[in-house]
């Protein structure tokens, strides 16, 4: 029996196990939306902007590990998805984005709401398709899910011309997908793994840097096994936070620009770095020539292009983190000799000294709310048992520094692209996937305004998403850079007019709470968490507060600026210039 392209699409999605789609309707996708009107298996969550839809699907994907699905119309509907797609692409998040397209015969004619979205999205998707023939449709959907979720995951876009979804064909479903030109490497090279084990066994001052790949591959148990078995301290990149519990004694927190002193010190003094599922982003390495000068480097990653892109590598291992670590742990257990234990203890003692020397801290005030205090309180009250999303800027860094992520997939944040406006829609997506969990967006007053329209989505879907706004009336991170590096010339970083977030929330039918004094922080959080509605919590924080420690851009990562020695740091800064 022949069915329409729209029906083929919905049937294909059902077979791929899709339960939720995030989207926004428009002219050329009405065939598809019509089928969703009374569909029992698939629920469409209508956002208020296509960018919100993509971030929501992204939050859904990050919190579950399943691909997020988006459906939008042609032209502006499609172009509005780009920021979301690029965000997912940088952080290796599996998404399938369906965009409507004008009928095949009109493509290239500058038709109404036409955009060459396949051309526009090419550099920020893992792959994209234009469906030209309805006969290819089900197979393309199948390939798209396969490509998005396998190897190093990423977003895939499928452009659907209106006539393709309207015409009819037989439904064909292939059980397996094989693409001859696409064969990701999952198993690490055995010889390299043995070499790596030898290096680890010989090392005296080893450090693990765990990245997002540990979480994506589900290799966190294996990571923990490796770390605990031979007591190797673990620092986690922003994308890797939660791969080892933040409360674990071997955890060094985050490295890099706003990382901990002891993580950066450990990297700089290490004789061996074991980089797992991470890509040596410039925010992690600082000045490349001065990065980990004494260390040999073992680099495990599923994407060969990540290896030797930025830093020299002694032992490259291309493969899936979980499988490589399983194999590596096995070899190590057979290999390790005992006397080596003592050497390790000396290294851990050294790290302990650094931890005591400069713990991750801030100066509490009982006059004005310190933003770090809000994050700390959120951690205390949730005991780490929440899904945290962040926006981008100071709010993101304070969340990463002061919330101890104890479980993987509990921090959803735009690491690579650094997208303001990500956190709130991502929290909506995460809440759809986890209706019973506490989902909190740690936001700034600048970022939250970038997708504030999604309040409607949260309220209508009765999502109890909490938004903690660290409100300083500034684009705080921009202001911080201007203070430190641009002679306190605050060029266009002062927001001056910030809406009354309590009223905004209430106008949408959500709840709004506000705290202006430190003593109000805990009561506001407690009440906010109790209300079974979408809640905005507006915390008026110290606008002068900066994110410390800080490594100035392109400085070695152990050249850090600290809060308590502001004057000294400024001199240091001048010397560095």
């Amino acid at each position: 029996m022949k069915i329409t392209g729209a029906e083929i699409l919905i049937e294909s999605l059902k077979r791929e196990g899709v339960k939720h789609i995030f989207g926004y309707p428009g002219g050329v996708v009405l065939n598809i939306f019509d089928l969703l009107y009374d569909n029992k298996d698939i629920q469409l969550i209508l956002t208020r902007h296509e960018q919100g839809a993509v971030h929501a699907a992204d939050g859904y994907a990050r919190s579950t590990g399943k691909p997020g699905v988006v459906l939008v119309t042609s032209g502006p509907g499609a172009t509005n998805t780009i920021t979301g797609i690029a965000t997912a692409s940088m952080d290796s998040i599996p998404l399938i984005v369906f965009s409507g397209q004008v009928p095949t015969m009109l493509i290239g004619n500058d038709a109404f709401q036409e955009a060459d979205i396949v051309g526009i999205s090419r550099p920020c998707t893992k792959y994209n398709f234009l469906v030209k023939d309805i006969k290819d449709l089900s197979n393309i959907v199948r390939e798209a899910f396969y490509i998005a979720t396998s190897g190093r995951p990423g977003p895939v876009l499928i452009d659907l011309p209106k006539d393709v979804t309207a015409s009819k064909a037989e439904f064909i479903w292939q059980e397996t997908v094989k693409i001859r030109s696409y064969n990701p490497t999952y198993e690490g090279n055995k010889w390299m793994i043995i070499q790596a084990a030898h290096l680890i066994a010989k090392s005296k001052r080893a450090v693990i840097i765990a990245g997002g790949g540990v979480i994506i591959s589900g290799g966190y148990r294996e990571l923990r096994e490796l770390a605990e078995f031979i007591d190797i301290p673990v620092t986690m990149t922003l994308m890797g936070l939660g791969s080892l519990p933040g409360t674990h004694e071997l955890s060094l927190g985050m490295p890099g620009m706003h990382g901990t002193y002891y993580a950066n010190k450990a990297i700089q003094e290490a004789d061996l770095l074991i980089a797992i599922g991470m890509r040596f982003d410039d925010r992690v390495t600082g000045k490349l020539d001065a990065f980990a000068p004494h260390a040999k480097i073992i680099h495990i990653d599923i994407d060969p292009t990540s290896i030797r892109k930025n830093v020299r590598v002694d032992i490259p291992i291309v493969g899936d983190v979980k499988r490589v670590l399983t194999a590596l742990n096995k070899v190590l257990k057979e290999d390790i000799k005992e006397q080596w234990d003592e050497v390790r203890k000396a290294w851990l003692r050294q790290i302990d000294t650094w931890k005591k020397e400069r713990p991750m801290t801030y100066t509490y005030s009982d006059e004005v709310i310190k933003p770090q205090f809000v994050v700390e309180k959120i951690y205390d009250l949730t005991k780490g048992n929440a899904i945290i999303t962040t926006e981008v800027g100071q709010n993101q860094m304070w969340a990463a520094q002061f919330y101890k992520f104890d479980r993987p997939r509990t921090l959803l944040t735009s690491g690579g692209l650094g997208t303001m406006g990500y956190g709130f829609p991502a929290a909506i997506g995460a809440q759809i996937a986890h209706p019973d969990k506490l989902v909190i967006d740690i936001a700034g007053d600048g970022s939250i305004q970038m997708n504030i329209q999604e309040l409607a989505t949260a309220v209508i879907n009765k999502l109890p998403v909490k938004v903690a706004i660290l409100n300083n009336h500034y684009l705080g991170m921009v202001r911080q850079w201007q203070e430190l590096f641009f002679h306190e010339r605050y060029s266009y970083s002062h927001l001056e007019v910030v809406p009354d977030f309590v009223k905004v929330a209430e106008a949408y039918g959500a709840a709004g709470l506000k705290a202006t004094r430190p003593s109000e922080v805990e009561p506001v959080l407690k009440e906010g968490f109790k209300i079974k509605k979408t809640v905005f919590m507006d915390f008026i924080v110290d606008w002068k507060e900066k994110v410390y420690p800080m490594v100035p851009a392109n400085a070695p990562i152990d050249h850090m600026l600290f809060e308590e020695q502001k004057e000294k740091s400024e001199k240091k800064l001048k010397a560095l210039k």
Binding site: V118, G119, R122, P123, I179, S181, P304, T305, R308
Partner: protein, 162 residues
């Protein structure tokens, strides 16, 4: 250093722009590019001449391999290989230079493929050095324009450079 990279790719629309986009997006340089079908019409071959240090070339080949539509990447520079390029040159020699142009064409085993009252169009095939030498020698005679195909290359059978 210059490298000649040969690719086998799926013969689908958009593949060329994926590859060109990779080079421009990551700031790599394309000196020449040629595309053609292979014996299997579903597969095309591309020959790209690019340059960069070892690390850049490693990244280029890895990034190309990562593209979904790329089936195989061969850095020809690692292999003993034959490479050829063709050039069509339109020269407008003075009366007294005409014989010299024809003589040079013969020496370079080229052919005159078109002539008019004032011009010859000459076809020459060879490796890059030969093409370059031919162009240099013809310059004094007055080159009006020339068109090069870009390099194509094929691995010699059974020999790998150490």
């Amino acid at each position: 250093m210059r490298h000649t990279i040969s690719l086998l790719v799926e013969n689908k629309f958009g593949v060329l722009s994926r590859i060109a986009g990779l080079f421009s997006g990551r700031g790599y340089n394309i000196e020449s590019l040629s595309v053609g079908e292979t014996i299997d019409p579903q597969i095309s071959t591309m020959t790209i001449v690019t340059s960069g240090d070892d690390q850049i070339i490693e990244q280029i080949t890895k990034q190309l391999n990562k593209l979904i539509d790329v089936i195989k990447v061969i850095d020809m520079t690692e292999f003993d290989h034959v490479e050829r390029e063709m050039v069509l040159i339109k020269v407008a020699p003075k009366q007294e230079d005409k014989a010299e142009v024809l003589r040079l064409t013969e020496i370079f085993r080229g052919r005159v493929v078109d002539s008019s009252k004032t011009t010859y169009t000459v076809e020459v095939t060879g490796d890059e050095k030969k093409i370059q030498a031919f162009i240099e020698l013809l310059k004094p005679a007055g080159i009006k324009e020339f068109v090069r195909t870009g390099k194509i290359a094929i691995v010699r059978e059974g020999i790998k450079k150490s």
